[in-house]
Homo-oligomer: 227 residues x 2
């Protein structure tokens, strides 16, 4: 396999990796919609419930373009998503919020962390896939979450320490599951870490993770939490 | 209170009833979205899960116009919805599906039953409210549910009897909670049963319930179930 400097969807190896990538994104969005709706059940008010349901629905609205993208590549979207059910469900199982505050922090830092991750890699993909990914994974900086968490901390300083640890745990679990996926999905990791990222040097890869971490820290800061 | 032959939103009594009605519809849609998403967690396949999530999201998409309608009437949407949380949550608690089949039947006959109910009354309301209600509460005859339930019955005839009883229970609980709401929300029931429906004779009211029941029976029949 020769490294593709200009990734091309007509290359079956590259194409298979993109099917994997879109499958992961698609199931991730479906799963996020389900979890956010479940979290909405813990909302202290109807207004808060509605805010979280709106985030859930915004996630779900992105599923259709991803599934269409998969079909355009000749893939069965359900088969493409299937390999990612276990790692993504496991991520959610290990980061199941214990209360409303943890739900809010997860919705803010977890979902945006995932978006950052995909968008950083999308930059190095073919234009069509890049455009599909960047248009569906728009960062959501929900002001209502910032307002609620900051007010919560003002009312009870003790939650800040707990939620700071919670944010670290979300990042840790996201990295753990990403490593599992990388270990199990050879073609995907070969293409992302080899063919595509192989055209980048190690310093560039370090930069990618540096930027993802930096944005995570910024979001934690916006919530009034230390990383 | 004089019976309004032409219901008018500038009449505070009528307006209060419409605020109640839209509050009930709004909370009903939010609640349906949450329950359908919960039910999607029981789907036997990812494709089925997605179908149910699509229904959930279609319900949620109707929430915003209803809340805007409430704001245009000068009402706080959350206050307007609050009185309907208990009856609607109770309805869902008493009709919590025990398995995937019950989820499907509830999504098909329960949600459309509710839509029929509101639409029948909407005919007698002012044009603006009527148009808002009829445009948001579009009957959904999801072919996928019909396919799944019919296939389920072919594979196991025993579920038909159980699901037929389940359909009756959903209708029964819907009527019970409607009666509770009617008993507790004086203005709403006065306007619907007095000012508005008062301009109709008893035979017309019987016709309304006859049509709602008839459509319920038709939907049960489409699923291959006796009423």
């Amino acid at each position: 396999m020769v490294a593709s400097v200009a990734p091309d969807l007509s290359d079956p190896h590259y194409r298979a990796a993109i099917v994997d990538l879109l499958g992961a994104i698609g199931y991730g969005e479906i799963s996020a919609c389900e979890r956010l709706t479940e979290d909405a059940g813990r909302a202290p008010s109807l207004a808060d419930k509605l805010e979280l349901l709106q985030l859930a629905n915004a996630q779900f609205a992105q599923v259709t373009p991803i599934l269409e993208g998969l079909r355009e590549l000749g893939a069965d979207p359900y088969e493409a998503m299937a390999p990612f059910r276990v790692p993504i469900d496991t991520f959610h199982e290990y980061t199941a919020p214990a209360d409303w505050w943890e739900s809010l922090v997860k919705a803010y830092v977890g979902d945006n962390l995932v978006r950052d991750f995909y968008r950083e890699f999308a930059v190095h993909l073919d234009p069509r896939t890049r455009s599909l990914i960047t248009s569906t994974l728009v960062e959501d900086r929900s002001e209502f979450i910032v307002d609620r968490v900051r007010a919560g901390i003002r009312a009870d300083h003790l939650i800040a320490g707990r939620l700071a640890l919670w944010g670290r745990r979300i990042m840790g679990e996201a990295l753990t599951q990403t490593q599992h996926v990388a270990a199990e999905r050879d073609t995907l990791s070969e293409v992302l870490a080899g063919d595509v990222i192989g055209t980048l040097d190690l310093a560039s890869i370090a930069d990618i993770f540096g930027r993802i971490t930096q944005r995570h820290i910024e979001r934690m800061g916006q919530l009034g939490l230390e990383h």
